[in-house]
């Protein structure tokens, strides 16, 4: 019996290890190729590079106008995520606490439709709207769209989390004379921390990696995001390995660092975000 169990464990590890290699080899290839010439990459794809020169990175950094593109991506992500957290938390709170009212139920149903339907179907209407508002090539267009598109799921999570918070604290605050507004910010909002973290993590990943929104609405180069720089440059130099692979790495590096640093929180966030959803 014990022997059988041991055999089973060995086989299981073997299968899991093979799967881990399948996942890791492309990522390893992506990183080591940045230090190789085209010939070296073709002849020895899996070996470590013969030198670790950083010059190609410096070149890619300049070509992509990296600091500017990074700043644009960061600002869009931060503003959109903060907007989703604040508006989503307020709305989810009311939709739970005033659940018995007809208007809150109507609002909830309307917002739920945003989870079921991809916004991309209405991109032409959005284009018309954004142009009409004079927000073309303005990062706020993408910020607002990101907020609108990702709010429904956030509201859903906030609403279901609020339902697990007992009302006694709020009632006590009410007796002490605190209004709805103050009660929410001083008592409820801090209690929402786990869901705030989940929503922040999920949306940081989505919004940072969004390519289509900026592609439609941020067409001028000064306003574009990191992924558009990758797209633009790879289109142009599709055979120039030395600058291509570093660009790809620079394209994924910020979130990769974020992941390596916060791996447990990110996986935890995805886990809790989904089970409640």
């Amino acid at each position: 019996m014990k022997k059988k169990r041991f055999c089973y464990q060995v086989i299981l590890h073997l299968v899991l290890l093979v799967l881990a290699f399948v996942v890791l080899i492309p990522i390893y290839y992506l990183v080591v190729t940045t230090f190789k010439s085209g010939t070296e990459a073709a002849l020895h794809p899996m070996s470590l590079p013969s030198s670790w020169k950083l010059a190609p990175y410096a070149e890619a950094f300049v070509k992509m106008q990296y600091p500017r593109a990074f700043k644009n991506t960061l600002l869009i992500t931060v503003f959109a995520v903060v907007g989703i957290l604040i508006f989503g938390a307020m709305c989810g709170y009311v939709l739970n606490r005033k659940e018995e009212k007809r208007w809150t139920r109507a609002v909830f149903l309307l917002i739920l439709s945003g989870i079921m339907f991809p916004y991309q179907m209405s991109i032409l209407g959005l284009y018309k709207l954004i142009r009409g508002m004079g927000l073309m090539n303005n990062m706020w267009s993408v910020v607002f769209i990101d907020i609108a598109v990702n709010l429904p799921f956030a509201i859903f999570l906030f609403k279901s989390f609020v339902s697990t918070i007992p009302r006694e604290l709020e009632e006590a605050a009410k007796i002490d004379g605190a209004g709805v507004w103050r009660t929410f910010w001083t008592i409820v909002f801090p209690l929402l921390k786990p869901t705030l973290a989940t929503v922040a993590i999920l949306n940081t990943l989505t919004i940072w990696n969004d390519f289509m929104g900026p592609l439609y609405f941020l067409q001028s180069r000064e306003k574009d995001v990191i992924l558009q720089e990758v797209y633009r440059n790879i289109g142009q130099f599709s055979t120039d390995w030395a600058s291509l692979f570093p660009m790809m790495v620079l394209g994924v590096l910020p979130l990769l660092i974020f992941y390596l640093a916060m791996q447990k929180f990110i996986i935890g966030g995805v886990m809790s975000g989904s089970v409640k959803g």
Partner: protein
């Protein structure tokens, strides 16, 4: 009749809902309605006037041969991708939920591709799958004495290659969702099953899988909805080629948009709406049946 007092009492609540509602209606609901409207208009980049044109755009759609390919590819992608992800993720999550050495490392590794940009993942795989002498996978294949496979250049298998790339990228995400659900399945159920003499296989089918119903539902629904949006991966691997054989609804829509055929692109948006409604209805039907079966 509501008293003044009642209205005053609900004011702060209304104000707290308002920002979210306003943004959602302005940037989600209103554009949907106006897209529906403009799908009946002749609106291009070339003429300054936007004129009503009745069903012209829709008639053009019907004679557009790429449309059928786009819809078929989008649906195939959404369904097969999500099923393959779960076929890998579900058993892996069960394995990682046991007291296995190194399970946190495995988990971190499998999830990793999900944080990479899909656009970059596509470019990377384009190199790995290339038929040129640097294409790593074909180097491996030829080292076994087999012929090279033109994964992304052969219209018959390009879509399959794209699906596999995305399974590679996203099965870890599905796995994490299953893991979260597995933690909430009570040990008692397994003990009860063991008392009834169930072996590991029976426990898996009669305790684990029914217990995972919520996560299966989430993975299928969210996976299919995001599958319908397939765009980045096609842009970076095949760009719809060869000969439009890997176009999806969104890549076609973007082409019409870039060409300045806005009204026509809006009609594509409506096709997209119809396809996603259809898929949602089918999914809901399946889940209703399944839940009845479980009860």
């Amino acid at each position: 009749m509501k008293s003044k007092n009642q209205i005053k009492n609900s004011t702060p609540y209304v104000l707290m809902v308002l920002p979210a509602l306003l943004i959602f209606v302005t940037f989600f609901v209103a554009p949907l309605l106006s897209t529906a409207k403009y799908s009946f208009y002749n609106w291009t980049n070339y003429s300054p006037d936007i004129t009503f044109s009745g069903l012209t755009n829709y008639k053009k759609l019907l004679s557009d041969r790429t449309l059928a390919t786009g819809v078929k590819n989008t649906l195939t992608y959404a369904v097969i991708n999500v099923l393959l992800q779960s076929v890998i993720a579900l058993p892996v999550s069960v394995a990682l939920n046991s007291r296995l050495k190194g399970r946190n490392i495995y988990r971190a590794v499998y999830f990793c591709p999900a944080v990479l940009s899909t656009l970059v993942v596509g470019y990377l795989w384009k190199y790995l799958l290339s038929t040129s002498d640097y294409g790593f996978l074909n180097q491996v294949i030829t080292s076994f004495g087999l012929d090279k496979i033109n994964f992304l250049g052969d219209g018959k298998i390009a879509l399959a290659a794209i699906i596999l790339i995305e399974v590679w990228q996203w099965f870890g995400w599905a796995m994490v969702i299953y893991l979260g659900n597995l933690q909430s399945i009570s040990e008692d159920l397994y003990e009860a099953a063991a008392m009834d003499g169930a072996d590991a296989w029976k426990k898996f089918w009669h305790v684990t899988v029914p217990g995972l119903a919520p996560a299966i539902k989430i993975n299928l629904v969210t996976g299919m909805i995001s599958g319908l949006k397939v765009f980045d991966i096609v842009v970076s691997t095949t760009n719809g080629g060869p000969a439009h054989q890997t176009e999806t609804i969104l890549t076609l829509m973007f082409t019409k948009f870039s060409d300045g055929n806005y009204g026509y692109a809006a009609a594509f948006g409506m096709v997209f709406l119809a396809v996603s409604m259809l898929l949602s209805c089918v999914l809901l039907g399946i889940f209703n049946k399944w839940e009845k079966g479980l009860e």
